[in-house]
Amino acid sequence: MIIEIAAQGGFGGMAAARLRKTIDVDDQPEQMRQELCDAFGPDELARLARQPCGACADRMTYRITVTEDCESHSFTLHEQQIPPEMLDLIDQM
């Protein structure tokens, strides 16, 4: 499973300062692999994308694409829709 994350927005509003990360889950140590699979499963991402987004001043937006078995799913999530543990995972990538 490949996870691609592109972040934009935030206080700076700088298009050029976009963060991009790509991670091949199969290359990760066992524990990390399990955590990533749980957090970034397409069903879980779809559930998060349906959460209300609330106050959004200066928040970032994440475009997350998960590719597995030649199939890709993309989701746009606001920072405040993503649970803190998942944001910590993104920061560790």
């Binding site: 934009q8 927005g9 935030g10 206080f11 700076g12 509003g13 700088m14 298009a15 050029a16 300062a17 963060l19 609330g54 106050a55 959004c56 001043a57 200066d58 928040r59 970032m60 920072e79 405040q80 803190p84 543990e85 944001l87 910590d88 920061d91 560790q92």
Partner: protein, 366 residues
């Protein structure tokens, strides 16, 4: 300084330090002085309330402002006193608010970011309280909750509806977010939210951003005691990484000139409606088109001279309290600032002439 006299009938406080000074002491004094000032303020306010109840007896309450989104914060809060700051250390994780490291009145922690967040929150509270009569972000004394060290290498600062959060920056693009104009900006988002709000997309979103920049800049200018021509009118001065070619994140005096860098590109802010940017990114360019109302505010201040947080700040603050339109366009906002200027400076005053000129120069006719 103050004498608490005990008589057989009642306690009465004879204090030569006026409430205004007490507020300053509560904000800036060392912990013991601040605690003393807070205690005295509570006592004088209780006394004032008792007096007010006597003298106001039978009179109707102050006329509230009309409109579902208008707030009552135009009239100074009567129990306005001191901030209730609560600074947390996020310990580089995303969970909020994190570990409480400094509460109101406590000594510095030695954690530089936490102490800056504490001091700056006090300065922003003081701007809204002492200049505009507003008691904290909600007008009702809500605690000022902030988290520093939010996430790892996090290039952002935000207001989440109930608190502020500041990253450390990744050291490349940003080196910090703990700078007074940035902190004032985030706290102003709280004020805007509790003043009827401005929907965070397109023109109303760019107004939300611009008003946050205005009060962030005013907090800094006031703290430095700068008049309009002494101020740099930069938002986020010095927060960009050491290798970035730029002085700040935004310039209200010259939008579009804050940075020009190989990595970041050119500061995209316009200063005139002719260059309004239509985009779906950044909630419809809220951090881009805010350059236009930002520049109008700067021009208004520059034409008048003097201290920008005084009349110009009061005009903008009053307009925010009376706007009653979360979907306001730039033009709606310009009209509202004119109504406020008329109320505060008089119809036909030089101030209203200069305000009209400022809006005209950025391409907005009122």
């Amino acid at each position: 300084m103050c004498f608490l006299l005990n008589s057989s009938h009642h306690h009465s406080i004879h204090c030569i330090v006026p409430p205004y000074m007490l507020r300053v002491l509560a904000l800036r004094g060392d912990p013991r002085t601040a605690e003393m000032a807070r205690t005295l303020l509570k006592q004088t306010e209780k006394l004032r309330d008792e007096r007010a109840e006597l003298t106001r007896a039978g009179l109707p309450p102050d006329q509230p402002l009309g409109g579902a989104y208008a707030t009552s914060a135009v009239t100074p809060a009567k129990d306005l006193c001191c901030p209730d700051r609560r600074i947390h250390d996020g310990q580089f994780r995303a969970a909020l608010p994190g570990k409480l490291v400094r509460s109101e009145g406590q000594d510095p922690t030695g954690i530089a970011d936490a102490d800056t967040a504490y001091d700056a929150a006090g300065q922003v509270f003081s701007l809204f309280a002492e200049e505009y009569g507003r008691n904290s972000l909600d007008g009702e004394g809500m605690p000022l909750i902030a988290t520093v060290h939010h996430r790892r290498d996090y290039n952002n600062a935000f207001w989440n509806g109930t608190q502020m959060a500041y990253g450390t920056g990744d050291g490349k693009i940003f080196r910090t977010f703990l700078e007074l104009s940035v902190i004032g900006h985030e706290m102003a988002h709280g004020v805007i939210q509790h003043s009827g709000g401005l929907i965070y997309e397109n023109q109303s979103g760019a107004l939300n951003e611009s008003i946050a920049d205005v009060f962030g800049s005013l907090a800094l200018q006031r703290a430095l005691g700068q008049e309009v021509h002494q101020a740099d009118w930069l938002v986020g001065r010095g927060i960009l990484g050491p290798g970035i070619n730029g002085v700040a994140l935004r310039s209200m005096k010259a939008p579009g000139t804050a940075y020009a860098d190989d990595l970041l590109g050119q500061d995209p802010q316009p200063w005139h409606m002719d260059h309004f940017v239509t985009t779906t990114d950044d909630n419809g360019g809220v951090h881009i088109n805010s350059g236009i109302p930002n520049h109008a505010f700067y021009l208004f201040c520059a034409y008048l001279g003097g201290r920008s947080w005084e009349l110009p700040g009061r005009v903008w603050y009053r307009a925010l309290q009376t706007l009653n339109n979360p979907m306001a366009s730039f033009s709606d906002w310009a009209d509202q600032t004119m109504d406020s200027a008329i109320e505060l400076a008089g119809r036909g005053s030089i101030e209203t002439v200069m305000l009209r000129r400022a809006w005209k120069l950025v391409g907005i006719a009122i």
